[in-house]
């Protein structure tokens, strides 16, 4: 393989690996948005909280990774359920803006709590795959990246099955289409919304636990929410497959921009994409058009 092609292949693999994380975060945000029309700005801080918790349990308490993963995921699920049941649920029926504000407020509180409990220093911890890598057709892939990709696609598949095949998943879909109608058909919409939050909390936890070893355990990790927003917009607001596709596309665009475009573009590529897509195709690449009736 020529060096140029090799570089391209390497970038593509890296892009998919990073994009898989974006996809996972984006799925969490889309889940909540579809069910409750709340755009959860606190999602990134749930992720930060899970990363710090995992660090405290692995590096601090010396627990094995396999025990920490389900523990933190369950903890975050319960926390997210509680956040909806106790706080976010109260603003149902108010303008969208209230939801944005409330989740920003929750994000601030979570961030403050994380800093108070764990301090402001960056941390790191090891996973069973840290340091290992495989060579494939001249492309180097870190073991951790492979695991992440596998995990993300597994979760995407599980969610797909969940929403297509299980009673609870179908009820959630129904509620997201029309809350009142679902309520009248005996679906307990409020409890269902809280369960969606819990589900999103679990995905945030998994994203946080796997992302942190790639970078650092740091409060700045919440910024990934913004990248996920770009992914969601690109994938056409409110569809899970769209979120996955968008996430991977953003990952790829960032990697390519870092090498093929001038210095500095890598950091803003995702945001430029978001702006351009929203201006040119306000409904995203895969979204459907809606008009408002008068």
């Amino acid at each position: 393989m020529s060096p140029a092609l090799e570089l391209f292949a390497q970038l593509t693999v890296n892009g998919i690996a990073v994009g898989a994380i974006y996809a996972l975060v984006a799925m969490g945000v889309v889940l909540i948005h579809k069910a409750t029309e709340v755009l959860n700005f606190a999602h990134g801080d749930l992720l930060v909280l899970s990363a710090f918790s995992a660090w405290a349990l692995i590096a601090g308490a010396g627990m094995p990774f396999w025990l920490v993963l389900p523990l933190v995921a369950a903890g975050l699920g319960v926390l997210a359920y509680g956040m909806d049941a106790l706080i976010v649920r109260r603003i149902a029926g108010q303008p969208q803006f209230a939801g944005v504000m409330l989740t920003i407020a929750l994000a601030f509180m979570l961030r403050g709590l994380v800093q108070m409990i764990f301090g402001t220093d960056s941390q790191s911890y090891d996973t069973p795959w840290t340091g290992g890598s495989v060579q494939l057709f001249g492309v180097t892939i870190a073991d951790l990246s492979l695991v992440i990709m596998a995990v993300v696609f597994l979760i995407a598949a599980l969610l797909w099955v969940f929403f297509r095949k299980t009673r609870l998943g179908i009820a959630m879909q129904a509620a997201s289409q029309n809350q009142l109608a679902a309520h009248l058909n005996g679906v307990r919409v409020k409890r269902l919304n809280s369960l969606v939050w819990a589900l999103a909390g679990v995905t945030a936890a998994i994203a946080g636990i796997f992302l942190a070893p790639l970078t650092l355990v740091d409060t700045a990790l919440w910024l990934i929410t913004l990248k996920a927003l770009a992914a969601i917009v690109l994938g056409g607001f409110g569809s899970l497959p769209g979120a996955v596709l968008g996430g991977i596309l953003i990952g790829l665009i960032e990697q390519y921009a870092g090498v093929y475009l001038p210095d500095g573009f890598k950091d803003i590529a995702a945001y430029l994409v978001l702006i351009v897509v929203l201006i040119l195709k306000p409904n995203g690449l895969m979204g459907d058009a809606h008009g408002r009736r008068v």
Binding site: G93, M101, L102, I104, A107, R111, I268, L278, P282
Partner: protein
């Protein structure tokens, strides 16, 4: 109880409707004018900062409160105003010209950002502005020739008619003058045709079109106006900071501004001022709180951001009309004392009002 007995239409839309208002606002202004004569330089400097935030908050209120367009990236306009102003000063433009020019540059940027507002609204617009502010932050960092990049840029200390602005007290009076002028201009504009058209666009686009309001022009114009005012605040901010770096204008400043307008109360100029005052006093309040708290909690740095979040959550949940709404309720209670009904301000509840198809 206060009764309005109007004999001419112009009494109905007077800026200050009651004699008592003249007294109250007069006393407030007089107090603000006297402060530098009695207070320390440090205190006056802090007060100037509050006034600057008031201007920025008024700028965002014009956009979010009156035309209903959410911006989560207003720090970028503060930055553009600050850098534009500093650059103009460095290139020999006199202060008195540089200040309005900086506002104009920022307004120009606002018009450009406003163009997406024609196509997208609500959450989508919030995301566009958010993305824009991150892009601006990076561009400032990269554009070394003009902005000094991440190394920063020194702001010159100019003088007007031989009086140096380096003195905190002179600077304070300048800030006060700007706040009063901006407030008067906005109050006038918002009780006239343009202001009504703004609220029309906010409350129902369909009806606004049907009444002949150029909705798109109003939206973009509001963006320009808002960015211009915010840029003016940025230009003043440049002098307050003295040395500009990109990390002075991050997302956190944008969110602080949003906090101000939400906590102050959407759609009210008084709310913008109240919000700015409360948010800028929050760090001081938290510092006081730390003295009371046990050592282990007090030394943590997260407390401030936690309190900011808690205050915001409190207002969203329990007082969506903000400080201004609370103020109106208290005033109504005092004025109508024995006759006050709890339900006067009760809002109607909707089960689920979908905004998906707006």
């Amino acid at each position: 109880m206060r009764f309005d007995y109007h004999t001419r239409y112009r009494q109905g839309f007077a800026l200050l409707k009651h004699p008592a208002d003249w007294v109250n606002y007069g006393v407030l202004l007089a107090a603000l004018l006297v402060v530098p004569l009695v207070a320390s330089n440090y205190f006056v400097g802090e007060l100037s900062y509050v006034l600057i935030l008031c201007v920025a908050s008024l700028g965002l209120m014009t956009l979010s409160g009156f035309t209903g367009q959410i911006s989560l990236g207003h720090a970028s306009f503060v930055a553009i105003g600050a850098y534009g102003h500093a650059w103009l000063l460095a290139h020999g433009v006199p202060f008195i010209l540089a200040l309005p020019l900086a506002a104009l540059i920022s307004a120009g940027a606002g018009l450009v950002v406003g163009i997406p507002a024609i196509r997208v609204s609500g959450l989508y617009l919030a995301m566009v502005t958010l993305a824009f502010s991150i892009v601006v932050e990076q561009v400032i960092g990269m554009w070394r020739g003009v902005t000094g990049g991440f190394m920063g840029m020194l702001v010159e200390t100019p003088s007007i008619a031989g009086i140096s602005l380096g003195s905190p007290k002179v600077f304070y009076y300048l800030c006060l003058l700007v706040v009063v002028l901006v407030l008067l201009a906005l109050a006038n504009l918002l009780r006239s045709g343009i202001g009504r058209a703004f609220t029309g666009v906010r409350d129902s686009e369909a009806a606004a079109y049907a009444l002949g309001i150029e909705v798109k022009r109003m939206k973009v114009g509001a963006f320009g106006l808002s960015a211009g005012i915010t840029g003016l605040a940025g230009a003043l901010m440049a002098h307050h900071i003295g040395y500009l770096t990109p990390d002075a204008f991050t997302l956190l400043l944008s969110l602080d501004l949003v906090l101000m307008v939400v906590i102050g109360g959407m759609g009210s100029l008084r709310g913008a001022i109240l919000g700015a005052v409360l948010i800028s006093m929050l760090p001081n309040g938290v510092a006081l709180l730390k003295d009371v708290l046990p050592q282990s909690m007090a030394r943590q740095s997260g407390l401030e951001i936690f309190v900011a979040g808690a205050v915001l959550a409190f207002f969203v949940l329990f007082e969506p009309t903000g400080l201004n709404g609370r103020w109106m309720k208290i005033r109504a209670l005092l004025e109508n004392f024995p006759l006050y009904r709890r339900d006067t301000f009760r809002r109607q509840k909707a089960y689920m009002k979908s905004e998906r198809n707006r």
